[in-house]
Symmetry: C2
Subunit: 347 residues, 2 copies
């Protein structure tokens, strides 16, 4: 017995209250120049009729909707979920609502022009500003402000929060070396991505730093997908002098490594150490992860940045580079100092 009744409009409210639509609009927008009793009467009618203002109409006409958009490839991913948690935290403490937009498929999101499309879709209509996660695009046209989390391009033309991929990889490799590993495999990511390139550089530099030999056959080209990573891991694990540890590139690749290890009868972590990146492991799933609370922090900081932007409070710095320790380059506004401090002390 679902009600299909035509939605009640501001017109209906006006009629029922015996006033004009503009008067109703006034009380809706909390303008001051309305008589006390008129206002009360209208509020009553609104409650009575169960009126909810039409979001589409309102954002078409008015200045802001108090809505923030989050454009995220696939909300089922651990990576996305952790970022969403952070956004959520910041939203909870603000008076903004959150619209998460997703196509449900990470593949569909993979072009710059589609990214632009989503940004326009939200920011030119119903949202006051947008957070976009892991964009490929270098630039966006938009009516409202944009902040990106973990963009693939190194120096995007919009405010952004970056993972410190280089330092993260260094820490991961350092960890493996300290475990006693001397032959560490590396599954590289898509070479056109900044993140992949910097992780690889972190790998090389750390080996050199610790005086370990740089065996190029230990570096195989992956593409951040599970499928390809299975093959890469096979290649590494069946070579003559096999590595005892593998840096898996990212979370998807790590899953691939596990798959391959299982096929080949390797025990993890007994026979093989695996390091992921970007991943939030299930219990016992990976035996090391480099990012955790960190992703949440990225989401939170990005949201706080966006709210500042929407409220026209200019940011002193538009790029934040975050690490397992939040690393901030250049000067920044007080609110982010605090985030920095919190995160550091939480670790």
């Amino acid at each position: 017995m679902r009600n299909k009744k035509r939605a009640v409009t501001i017109q209906d409210v006006a009629k029922a209250a015996g006033v004009s639509v503009s008067t109703v609009s006034r009380v809706l927008n909390e303008k001051v120049d309305v008589a006390q009793d008129t206002q009360e009467r209208i509020l009553d009618v609104i409650k009575q009729l169960g009126y909810t203002s039409n979001l589409a109409a309102r954002s078409m006409r008015g200045r802001h909707s108090h809505l923030i958009g989050l454009i995220i490839p696939d909300i089922g991913f651990p990576y996305s979920i952790e970022i969403m948690k952070g956004v959520n935290q910041a939203i909870a403490q603000s008076d903004f609502g959150l619209m998460v937009y997703t196509t449900g498929d990470i593949q569909k999101n993979a072009t710059a022009s589609l990214e632009q499309h989503y940004v326009s879709l939200l920011n030119n209509s119903i949202t006051d500003g947008v957070i976009i996660v892991a964009p490929i695009a270098q630039d966006f046209y938009s009516d409202g402000p944009i902040v990106s989390v973990d963009p693939h391009k190194m120096k995007p033309n919009f405010p952004s929060v970056h993972a410190n991929n280089y330092e993260g990889a260094r820490q991961a490799i350092k960890y493996l070396i300290e475990l006693g590993h001397t032959r560490i495999g590396f599954i590289a990511g898509r070479p056109e991505l900044e993140s992949a390139e910097r992780r690889l550089r972190g790998y090389r530099d750390t080996l050199v730093e610790f005086g370990l030999p740089l065996d190029e056959s230990l570096i195989v080209q992956g593409d951040f997908t599970q499928k390809i990573a299975v093959g890469c891991a096979h290649q590494l694990l069946t070579m003559e002098n096999r590595p005892t540890a593998i840096f898996a590139g990212n979370d998807q690749s790590a899953i691939g490594v596990y798959e391959a290890a299982e096929e080949l009868g390797f025990d993890i972590p007994g026979d093989l150490s695996v390091v992921g990146f970007d991943n939030i492991p299930e219990a016992g799933y990976l035996n090391l992860t480099t990012i955790d609370q960190f992703l949440t922090d990225m989401g939170r900081v990005a949201t706080e940045m966006l709210i500042q932007l929407i409220n026209q409070k200019p940011l002193e710095t538009l790029t934040y580079r975050m690490q397992t320790e939040l690393i901030i380059r250049g000067s920044c506004s007080p609110i982010f100092q605090e985030a920095l401090h919190e995160t550091k002390s939480a670790l």
Copy 2:
């Protein structure tokens, strides 16, 4: 260097292509009555100008937006996340986009009238239909279809996907009994909620079924919050003949039980077995959970139902009651290992 340029409208496209807005609108909506070359020219201009149609304006005028709304209290919750994953799966296989709406705060969502507000907000404007998670309301007014996941009311006046709370509780209690427990505490949920009532009934019936005494002092009134559960657990654990196991009502309550157990110096699961409900535990966090993949399935099924409704394909059944499976996760005391093992292999 962010672009603040005014968004390009259908007017701009029309002007640039030397046609009227209606013609542009026609190609946008894939009407057939447009000349081949006109269409191509317009499509070209659209690409050139980077035009994206205004979502607000379009959904104000047109019939559908190909957007599904998901109203969910707090996207940071494991409960919400699992459901979202399922929705996401279904969305990925459809040609709908997904808008997740949240206020970021589970508290703000807790009244029927607010729920109605969110439904109207989305369904009277930008979405073609809405999925609402765990609503309290019995009924909704809405322009578009609604499907609810895990509603609190037993027989809501809209299509819904229910957890089988009764059977879930029975399985949990049965599991505890099979572990050898004879005194099992029960922290009840908010009595006005169907879910709470059915879980309690499952508890009682199972004890009776196994010939165990029904000690009313083992049932304490909680409200599905962590805070209150701490007190409940205290009460249970400090009574003369204390229970050796506790059914914690829901995930929040389970956290409360853990908190109390820790305060009192109890070891879980050494001294005490705890069963949660609704929860996805972190590693070793709870030693038993009833729901996992199940929540994801609920989300997926709800989305599939909604899409059917939007496409005007009538559903044969408007209520799906889904079976809860008992899934054991995390640590468990050695004396229970055997039973744990059996249960696992049964799945």
